[in-house]
Symmetry: D2
């Protein structure tokens, strides 16, 4: 004891032996055909199955962010990849690689803020709305926007409304508390007050709130968006692949003439010192 | 007409305008909370919603392949990535990039063979079992294994049995024809006959058969596996990330001494010609 | 003996111990400051250092393919990545993931053909020009283009001319034989004859010929292009990153209206069967 | 004027037209065969060619970090990728994706610190050694290690010594000032003083110092390491590919039994509520 060697890898997820595979303790053959994808996601991340209602909420967020059309960076990039002669999984991975801090990553940042606010409420015993306002003011002071707020096109995103309605349904059934959605709604009011204009909750913000209601760790947020946007990446890169284009630039050649400005040095000779080499 | 300019991008998947987003024509807010992930996958790939029974079958394949534990190349690679200081989505993409021809890609190859067999049956009017045998013999003649058969550990994979049972249920309800599962079972018999030993249908083979029953294009197979294995990639790279290891090599240092053989040239001096430079 | 366990990993490249690191047998501290990058590439791939002249030829191909501007799929994709909040190495990897069969991959295919032609010349003793013509005719018969030929913009690519001139210089010094460049030039003539129009050798074709002159394996071709285009990917994604754009779509919004055509089903209601769920 | 539309993409790197391609203004055909890879890297990132001596220094850092053998996370991951049936460029990209904050990323962090120190010296007029000590103390106070210091194996890395010797040579020729190397050496002393043990400068730290001497922006550091380690990734994944392994796990099966610990829940039944579905 004490000086026993530690195994190099430790996991609580999969146990496997010959003709047997268990996920978080459940035999895989019982999971197959019985549980939904969203329930599997929850199981593998959280360690046990959610209630069916909670599983449904998680699937709602996965459906909500699945695709926003060709102009979305992740989608266009995986479509371009599909014209370059690489396998479909690599096209999907290419798009997924983009889902970082600025492309969906707001959910992670907001979840972190929401959990911190909850923690402070618990510890400091202060009113949640007071703490929310303080957080928004601090961010404004640092000239940072609140993550999960604002959208270049939508100002009343139907996905946000629907997700919040589903949380309300689940709250009425006692499945979730609804406090994170409440916090986000309070934030929206405070933001309007601080910036003197309406800055709408966006899909990242709504997903963050729902995922907090489900108790998912904020560190999981980017992974959840991978699974959500993954559907769009598969369908769109497959569509492009089946169209058969080769080496597709994102806009047709004539448009580049207007949309690409070269601002570097003009044509020049290589200095003689380099030419004399070898 | 005729000389009208074609738009550079064409799609049948997403239509979007201010405060409105439609997936294959359905308003996203109606899809959210109503359809399951597997149904969304089918919708975005195939153009319309499946029957609920078919959606369930598709989700069954997604659950089946989600994770096979740390030693699986895709999983271990995304766990290693999680110790290198990159965002979670990039860890997931790293593992997903590996799901190529040899890592799950057998499903694509078998689906292609199965659809070709079906086509030949239709056109040549020959018995399916005759054509199946001929295909297996051709592959044997070319010293190629039949994709979707054989496994290093499992010889009676519980996932395969369960998936085939689900197809049988769906067939009894008239939801699928069951002919592709039948073909794969015939293949298993022929393979046993040709190689004089049992070579079991593996999870790639079973998923291929189910996906053919659902009419999914063979070109989609790698993408479907991305969505399935994606769950494991998210959960496992998150688990690793939360364990906090840094720059983790796949085995502890002492083991490398036995498991890494350097076979190259011994220590040697750089030739003088290179030293004299500059 | 005989039943001795084999180490799991075998390599001829790196040998390392405490305060010592050897690359193909050379002490790293002697390589640093003495050899050029192209020489290192050759050393690690081929097992020993090239002559300085050959190293120079290899570097010439690396310089030639480094960048072709924003509209190139790999470049634009890594620039888009740079606006999504992921680390620079992930932006570079994203672009590199695209350098597959259709994006630079022609070099691999042509190298393979060139080596096969050389092999046939040696074995069948037939004249090289006869074999070259036969290969071109076969490809035409299969309605396949010769890899490494044709370009959407350039018909007399200055990079190609320059690379061939460098090979000629090296041939004059007895450093290379020049037979692969000769074969490619013969191909250009045959192609003109077969298709009744000039189809120029492109940069992939020229690099393929040079890399064959250097004896590099065809399987290395995509990797070499990674190192070449890698320079462009780093510089361009860094430039984009420093410009500070966020979540950049590849064209400005108004252009999408003309360049994106939605061809799918019109707006429609979700069938009641899905709404009735849960 | 004033309301003129801005082009969507702006660049100072590549200018291209029919049969003409210029990199930072230089005609590509003059660069090919005349400049070295390291000079190209400098040109594309910095906007003009370096002196030959500076180019040599940059190439020295590229050679230094190229490969550290199979156990390095980036290398092993690209070798595993090479057994999964994906193109070589995707194997290289897979390994490159790992070169984040913890895998080579220390160079970026240290460059940032070094440039800040230089800036403070200039502005505050304080002695560099005083500022260096303050920075080290601050990091210690925050329980953060100084990036670029410490190595699990090497305590007198031959690459570090060699790089510093090359800087000294260049300083003697008036090519660089040597102040950043000096700062890093001061840091090493301060660190020893603060932690009461020698913590050696590692390869990331040495490369950071050299790259600062060359005036490269800290934001480029991860990209430079991509180009350096890229050589190893190409050579090692190619070596693995040519060995022909399929779906290689990072250690042989028997070792997993000792090195993989399952700590999750034991086998358990799926709750009836999930079985009753559908």
């Amino acid at each position: 004891m004490g000086n026993e060697k530690q195994p190099w890898w430790r996991t609580k997820i999969i146990q496997s032996e010959k003709n047997k595979l268990m996920m978080r303790g459940y035999r895989v053959e019982e999971l197959i055909g019985h549980i939904h994808y969203g329930e599997l996601v929850y199981l593998l991340i959280m360690g046990d199955l959610p209630s069916r209602e909670k599983g449904k909420l998680l699937e709602a967020t996965l459906v909500a962010g699945a695709d926003h059309g060709v102009p979305a960076p992740s989608i266009v990039v995986s479509r371009i990849a599909a014209t370059c002669g690489i396998p479909l999984n690599c096209c999907v991975a290419t798009g997924m690689n983009l889902l970082g801090d600025i492309h969906g990553g707001a959910a992670e940042q907001l979840m972190r803020i929401l959990y911190e606010l909850q923690e402070k409420t618990r510890i400091e015993g202060e009113k949640r709305s007071v703490l929310v306002r303080r957080t928004c003011e601090e961010l404004k002071g640092k000239r940072q926007f609140l993550p999960g707020f604002g959208h270049p096109v939508h100002d009343d995103d139907p996905r946000v409304r629907r997700l919040f309605a589903l949380v309300e349904e689940a709250r009425a059934k006692g499945e979730v508390e609804g406090k994170f959605v409440e916090m986000v709604k309070t934030m929206a009011e405070v933001v309007q007050d601080l910036y003197h204009r309406q800055i709408p909750i966006n899909i990242d913000g709504a997903c963050a709130a729902v995922q907090c209601e489900l108790g998912l760790p904020w560190q999981a947020a980017k992974g959840l968006f991978c699974l959500s946007r993954g559907v769009g990446l598969v369908a769109e890169s497959l569509e492009e692949f089946l169209q058969g284009s080769r080496l597709k630039s994102p806009m047709p050649m004539p448009l580049w003439e207007d949309e690409l400005l070269y601002e570097g040095p003009g044509e020049r000779d290589l200095p003689e010192i380099f030419k004399l080499k070898g």
